[in-house]
Point group: D2
Chain length 340, copies 4
């Protein structure tokens, strides 16, 4: 059993913890919080040992009936791999401690590529992660882009990608961030960081991205255009997606035309937290003009698609499973990940 | 086993169907749709026989791999009780058919009290529903008001209620309704219909309500003020709520201050569809001024609180369980309804 | 003085009415409403004679102190040109009456191109509108696209346009339309109607558009990519925009990164109704990759950019000003339209 | 001419500056900014001398063509009265400087009552402000409550006020604050600070308030209930409001039922920045139950209602106009403030 510690039990951390706990070859040795919150009660309900950054705050947890197992450093020592799911920028502060303890650690997309020196996507570079001490799982948007670009590149050769990322303003449970009523260019300048971030995983891809933020909490939406080298057809692309374990098709028969309906569907299907771990390509949106100019919309569940990538990264770093497809199969099966 | 048909498999119907299917003494004989949608796929996934209003549309369902069991009338004939979960106003159109077939039927709060001649709330008037052919389960807001008013009235005597209902604009998966950026008075006039609606269940209560709509999809929020006859204390009210099977306390230790965080907590706890069947009273908001002037906030999950009331109403109408508390206990237990 | 009737005094009609009234060579002979509303009071305050569709409703207007000048048909008879600013699809119903009366009429972008047989944009085809009886002013989004495409095409030759239109869900004062929290693909299929609509004005342009709706009320946002034939530079593009009377630059020094801040700036500058009649290109967003691949963001004020096009269309149809640039100059000057 | 400096040229400051500049007995000697923004361009366009907090940043302004007149301290020295419109909490930091310079200063409602030792509302305590060095104009919500409570108290005697304040999440041009999709209790506890804040102006009023934040940018909405001592009628209350110079009636004939429509109406009427300086009571919402239980909704434009109070406070502090009604008349007349 691979022993995993979750450093930062928030939006991403709590999902990775549940996904890890569901795997046959992994177990959670602990999760960490900095201060009491409803998520600490969730950890308790799950039976995850709770560790805290600052033991002087133990009293505040005790008072609420939340038993503290020890300090974060104690937790880290018990782990084979640490999943650092702290807010962007904190991973950088934690790195020296991981080095000191000689532990393997996974960082999230909020950290710079340089921090880990390796940016991970299960489809694209699983093998290159085998045995590494530090790995960065790229962000939800970059993950979503990499999956489709890599799939199309292998099948048709991708000569140019242009994507507009329309990003949700905040996660549903996050009530301080806005905007309430605006489209915010983030950044105003073109390209946005997403293009170069894709290139940390797929360096040979020519990609330009534009990004904005809109007042919604449910999923990012990508409007993607690709120029391909070999002629493609809509049917061929549909078949490729059908066969891919982490890209789902939103089918016209469902009547789903929006992120909110898609999340409702995932909820109705009983997915834990209504999570969509797969990229969700709208089947009806796939258009091929002149054989080489491909268009589609895909919705990306910001809180979920990276969760399964973290699980795979653990196996790659530990070297227990050498084949990407095998790890993906194990991860998906453990989550009872079935088609949307 | 009580045989239940769900006429209208949408936001309410799909929840009632799952809750009924979870009961030890009930089974679903069918659910109905008017046209294909993702919810029809959900019915298929659940194994609920799917009936349709207009058999000439069967082809459209077939084409999508959705097998149609027959017409709505055929479904109704198989049922002991029909839960009519059609959009507001359609129940009225369906009543003659239910009468013709001699079937018991439950209507939702979108219909007028007069349609069924009896408005139901498990806490307040379960016994009066025993053996009835037609029952109307009051709306989510009225249900939420009735629970707390009845609880307080029994303990302290309620001489006057004033409540402001801040209503969510649309359900999360409903993308056509607004507003996007406005507070809409609905209605402008005072009182809103909620006060009189409470009086269909609790006729002796003096209540005045004001209502508005705000651009959110997560839960209604009630700002409630009650004048009570016997002096009350915050502690006494907290104890009453703790002992109530359908009113939950949002505790300060969770740090939850909003509807969105509350829904996130329900999601993290693994509730099906993140549903909050209980009224959610914010513990910290309970204030008692001068012993007789009581204030509190409660959040009401519009899609969920009436679901459990529908289940109880089925038992009452069938007369299989004579005691409200016993039905509530059974309903809650089957849903693994545990404290928030 | 050109006599203008505004048939439909709503979001667009009230703006065109004010813009027409400000011109030295035009006057308003009347505006029409179907039922009383705050906009009828605005018409009264402006001194515009108010006509109504159904004279049997005159009493309802009288009761509110709104004097009715007569029927819509009476109004139309007084006009040289009718601006039909009724909701999409109603223009089609009105056409036979305009024909019967032998009047010139302008339709809005909500009507099909075929209705008028000619789609208008001041920059692109003013001359072709001279003397026409019927003209359709293209929609706000199409107007915004045409301005930049035409400008770039004349300077560099445009070989391909790909644009993603992120559309506001409703106008600020419109409280029934949603979504509240979703990105809605509208349509799911690619291309959206915007590309073909641009081609009603600029038939030789190769353009593919994708469109979605987001929950904001302030302006549409376009993410645009163009391939040009002659090499372009950011500086050259900035100079072209600076010289254009209907395209404004959002300058980095203002710190404006969103639609909401841009509208606030227009408000602070004292623009009537905070209207932005110009397309608003974000200067910092203009990117040129490899000389021929151009990117930029532009914000389009849905309620305003077509207003000035309507005014020009009036002059073209009447034939009183033969030169587009001269009409644009007159229209802008009358509105005291100064740079953002 | 009273010389006025605006320290903090943001949402409130820019409005007070324009209102002051419109008065016959006042002039603006300068406005201050900490860093360049579009509002600095607005100051330039208005011709207000621009002063900056940190002269080392002068270069950044110069580069944008924004000429800097000097330091904030230089500006303050030129003034008879300073309007401190800095963000909440900064006024406290500025007080020692105002004392050192021996200048009169007005603070906004974001500062504590104790800072100025006197909380101002034109209707309630103008006379008590005469000659004072420091005055705090209460917040937009408190101003709105004071106006109606004072009016009702003088006419009928108010024995108890209960109000629920449904607050807009952010100003329209403010894009960082949320929530996007939530009702946030702010605070969870009852009463909110608004009741005690009303009592800084009207100490004898018994008032309890509850407050929440909703995702809208247009106006706060108050659901108010008052118990009065002498019997009231709806007609009498309507007459009182009609006669009040700073409370407007939203009349049923306009069809206005929301904050967004109300702002649209103000925009159409040509109000500068679409500002509603008056409290806006919905005529149809006024209900009187049993003669002594009064209900109504009022919308409060968060950015505007305090602007006119600041102008009056200047006159009171300078002692140039001794009568509140006379100052209110002057302020309103200068703004061409006419009935909604």
């Amino acid at each position: 059993m691979i022993k995993v510690a979750i450093n930062g039990y928030g939006t991403v951390g709590k999902r990775v913890a549940d996904a890890v706990a569901a795997q046959p070859d992994m177990e959670i040795v602990g999760v960490s919080k900095t201060r009491p919150s409803f998520e600490a009660f969730v950890a308790k309900e799950r039976g995850f040992p709770l560790y805290i950054a600052d033991l002087s705050k133990k009293g505040a947890f005790d008072k609420l009936g939340l038993s503290v197992a020890g300090s974060v450093e104690e937790m880290l020592k018990k782990a084979d791999v640490i999943v650092d799911a702290t807010p962007g920028g904190i991973g950088k502060e934690n790195l020296p401690l991981y080095k000191k303890l000689g532990k393997k650690a996974i960082f999230q997309g909020g950290e710079d590529h340089e921090l880990a020196g390796f940016s991970f996507n299960s489809d694209c570079n699983y093998r290159d992660a085998i045995g590494r001490q530090f790995v960065r799982v790229v962000s939800c948007n970059t993950t979503g882009l990499c999956r489709m670009i890599n799939l199309m590149d292998k099948a048709f050769g991708v000569s140019k990608v242009r994507a507009t990322m329309v990003r949700r303003a905040s996660d549903p449970g996050e009530v301080k961030k806005g905007p309430v009523d605006a489209v915010v260019l983030d950044p105003v300048t073109v390209p946005s960081h997403h293009g170069p971030d894709v290139q940390t995983v797929l360096p040979h891809i020519d990609i330009t991205t534009m990004a904005m933020i809109v007042p919604t909490t449910f999923m990012h939406m990508h409007a993607v255009q690709m120029e391909v080298k070999k002629p493609a057809t809509k049917e061929a692309i549909l078949n490729l997606i059908e066969a891919h374990p982490r890209i789902g098709l939103v089918r016209p028969g469902t009547g789903i035309k929006s992120t909110a309906e898609l999340k409702e569907y995932a909820m109705d299907l009983g997915r834990p937290r209504s999570d969509l771990w797969e990229s969700c390509v709208f089947a009806d949106s796939i258009g091929v003009i002149g054989g080489k100019d491909v268009y589609f919309f895909q919705a990306i569940h910001q809180e979920a698609d990276i969760v399964v990538e973290n699980v795979d990264a653990i196996r790659a770093m530990m070297g227990t499973v050498k084949d990407a497809a095998e790890s993906v199969r194990m991860t998906n099966a453990a989550l009872k990940f079935t088609a949307i």
